[in-house]
């Protein structure tokens, strides 16, 4: 019996040893597969595409939420008045960046129609492609400023009024368009300013011309109309307060009705510095007809920010050597 047991044990052990050895090798191979990158790249790619799908789904969700939330908020049952934003723009290094961040603000505003007018004899591909991808409702126009009115390299920015022809082109388009949006509002938004979302809701109810403070303009922290008894009595500004309307382009909005009723009202490109706004508003409205917004003109909801011109010394040096950065890459 002892020998049998012995034999049994021995064979059992040998058998077991072989089986466990094979098992361990198999297990090691399984664990070792982590180093096998080809098999793991696929799940990673799958994860990436799954994440992309998720992002896309969320973005669609956000867009839907943007579109449906406004009817819920409006106490009035009528559809919201459209805000037509006229933005003159011109080609320079920071143009795409400015338009990008401006569009990111506009994307939050419901019922906004962007009229982008290029200072150019023809539509540039940069702006065309940009607008197509922006996801906004837009109209793309262009008109070149005549040479004598155009700022030259090295001119200070205040030397000649800028954007007059482009804004007039925008107004003309609105007049020609003949759409029946009588309750709409027209706002002139430059591409380098900063706008809070609250501003657009303030201007939506404009009946004739509404006004509000503008930050960081006129050499002051802000400029604003002074309101007494719900009416604008004068303007608080540090520079030439005797102008008919001493305010910045970003400080007022006009109802479309008024624009259509006064077919000749436009910006005078030959107006002296600082009188561009007045040249337009003079024919449209008087001071006591102005509608003060932004809590009786005590809150700053728009800032006249200006973007620095990027220093391109090295780029220019490289270009002189013929080694400039790839122009095929759009900046």
């Amino acid at each position: 019996m002892a020998t049998r047991m012995k034999l049994k044990l021995k064979t059992v052990f040998v058998l077991y040893f072989m089986v466990s050895l094979m098992g361990l090798i198999y297990a090691l191979m399984q664990l070792g597969q982590r180093c096998d990158c080809t098999e793991h790249d696929m799940p990673k790619d799958r994860t990436i595409s799954r994440l992309r799908g998720e992002v896309h789904r969320l973005q669609e969700q956000m867009k839907k939420a943007e579109m449906t939330k406004s009817p819920q908020k409006q106490p009035v049952k009528a559809p919201q008045p459209t805000i037509f934003v006229i933005t003159p723009t011109y080609a320079r290094f920071v143009q795409k960046a400015e338009l990008t961040r401006l569009s990111q603000t506009f994307m939050h505003v419901p019922q906004l129609h962007w009229i982008l007018v290029e200072d150019s004899p023809h539509k540039t591909p940069l702006v065309t492609d940009f607008l197509a991808k922006s996801g906004l409702t837009y109209t793309h126009l262009h008109i070149a400023t005549p040479k004598d009115r155009k700022l030259q390299e090295g001119d200070p920015s205040w030397l000649k009024p800028r954007g007059a022809e482009q804004r007039n082109e925008g107004l003309q388009w609105l007049r020609d368009d003949g759409r029946d949006q009588q309750a709409a509002v027209v706002y002139f938004a430059d591409d380098d300013n900063t706008y809070s979302l609250q501003l657009f809701e303030e201007m939506r109810g404009t009946q004739r011309v509404s006004v509000w403070p503008v930050g960081l303009v006129g050499g002051m922290r802000y400029e604003r109309p002074v309101v007494e008894g719900g009416k604008v009595v004068r303007f608080h500004t540090g520079w030439r307060p005797s102008r008919p309307f001493p305010m910045d382009m970003a400080g007022f909005a006009v109802s479309l009705k008024l624009v259509l009723a006064n077919q000749d009202a436009c910006f005078d490109g030959n107006a002296p510095m600082g009188f561009l706004e007045s040249s337009f508003l003079q024919g449209l409205v008087t001071m006591d007809e102005l509608e003060p917004k932004a809590d009786n003109c005590t809150k700053v909801l728009v800032w006249h920010t200006r973007t620095e011109k990027p220093k391109m010394k090295r780029e220019e040096a490289l270009q002189a050597q013929g080694l400039g950065s790839d122009t095929a890459v759009e900046v």
């Binding site: 019996m1 047991m5 059992v12 052990f13 077991y16 466990s20 098992g23 361990l24 297990a27 399984q30 664990l31 990436i48 994440l51 992309r52 998720e54 992002v55 969320l58 969700q61 956000m62 939420a65 939330k69 290094f93 920071v94 795409k96 960046a97 961040r101 990111q104 603000t105 994307m107 939050h108 505003v109 900063t194 979302l197 303030e202 403070p213 930050g215 960081l216 050499g219 002051m220 922290r221 802000y222 604003r224 608080h236 540090g238 005590t298 809150k299 700053v300 800032w303 920010t305 200006r306 973007t307 620095e308 990027p310 010394k313 090295r314 780029e315 400039g324 950065s325 890459v329 900046v331």
Partner: protein
């Protein structure tokens, strides 16, 4: 004796198999555990992020969890959707008080509101958190964390200048990194990406989606830096970064701008000693001071179509010349700009 031998034999047979089976199970179970933990952590962190934090104070201020959008006539933004699947983007923005601060933060917030699963870590360079920034953050309804640390001022120089030896924003970014390490120390597999976004740059929405798939450190071109139209990493045909297409000192370990890279949160937690160097950093070497602790050139992941598209612009805002304010201040100082 036979019985003992039998028992011994049985034990010897069974023991290694049980060991093998336990090892086997552990390797298959841990991924499941990690994902479950992820779900718990992400829901916790999303509710935590809506509260404000101050590391230096003993009792942290916990503002009520603002989930409902305040329905007034003026607020038209709502919190970006929170998904369990997408890695969170932790955007670290240092900021300091100046006249354009509110404008810059407003338009940056307008941009960030479009990005899902974003957590904004705003660090003020100030002694205490200002009401301007606190109010702005509350009104945006973004998921945020509001921190502050003051860069020590150089009292030897007349006036209110900060210590010029410490590059701007360094202490603030380091504080944010420290906050991330303290908040997420428990769970190392929390998916998140860390990006340093200055408050005056311009970001396209595409950029945020490019950085979401960062495994270690991803890089891309940045416009208007180094005196060029754009600076970018050099990428070879195998999709690996081998150099830097810059004019200004291309031999820096990482010749890239702060806005040109993003780091996986896991890597930040894995290397808890990695911070931006405070002093003795040459101009342009700040980014390298952090990145060299985290990653090698070989591990960089090029994004933006192998670094051929520009998705972020290093714009700078002009300092407004407030000449007409005069000595006493022409405008009402109680009106916030």
């Amino acid at each position: 004796m036979p019985k003992r031998r039998d028992i011994l034999a049985i034990v010897l047979i069974v023991l290694p198999w049980t060991l093998l089976i336990t090892v086997w199970h552990q390797s298959t179970i841990t991924p499941l555990l990690a994902s479950r933990k992820d779900k718990d952590e992400s829901s916790d962190s999303s509710s935590n992020s809506r509260n404000t934090f101050a590391l230096k104070e003993s009792c942290s201020l916990q503002e009520p969890d603002i989930v409902e959008v305040v329905r007034t006539e003026y607020v038209y933004s709502r919190p970006p959707p929170w998904s369990d699947v997408l890695p969170t983007l932790h955007i670290i923005t240092p900021t300091y008080s100046r006249s354009v601060q509110k404008a810059e933060l407003t338009r940056l917030a307008n941009t960030l509101l479009h990005v899902p699963n974003l957590h904004w870590i705003l660090v003020e360079d100030s002694q205490r958190r200002t009401s301007l920034v606190s109010r702005l953050l509350r009104e945006t309804t973004l998921n945020y964390t509001h921190l502050n640390v003051e860069t020590p001022r150089n009292y030897k120089v007349r006036g209110d200048t900060r210590d010029p030896r410490i590059p701007r924003g360094t202490m603030q970014r380091n504080l944010a990194l420290r906050w991330l390490r303290e908040t997420f120390s428990g769970n190392r597999s929390q998916p998140g990406i860390v990006y340093f976004a200055d408050d005056d740059n311009t970001y396209s929405l595409e950029l945020f989606e490019e950085m979401r798939s960062t495994r270690k450190v991803s890089v891309w071109p940045v416009a208007f830096v180094g005196g060029l139209r754009y600076e970018s990493p050099k990428v070879n045909t195998l999709g690996k970064v081998y150099g830097w297409k810059t004019v200004f000192d291309p031999h820096r370990p990482f010749a890239i701008d702060m806005a040109g890279f993003a780091v996986n949160l896991r890597l930040i937690l894995y290397k808890p000693q990695a911070y931006f160097k405070l002093r003795g950093v040459k101009g342009g070497y700040q980014e390298s001071s952090l990145l060299k602790e985290l990653v090698t050139l070989h591990d960089l992941e090029p994004k933006a179509a192998n670094c051929t598209k520009v998705l972020v612009w290093h714009t700078r805002t002009e300092r407004p010349v407030l000449v007409n304010e005069g000595k006493k201040g022409f405008t009402d100082s109680t009106v916030e700009i």
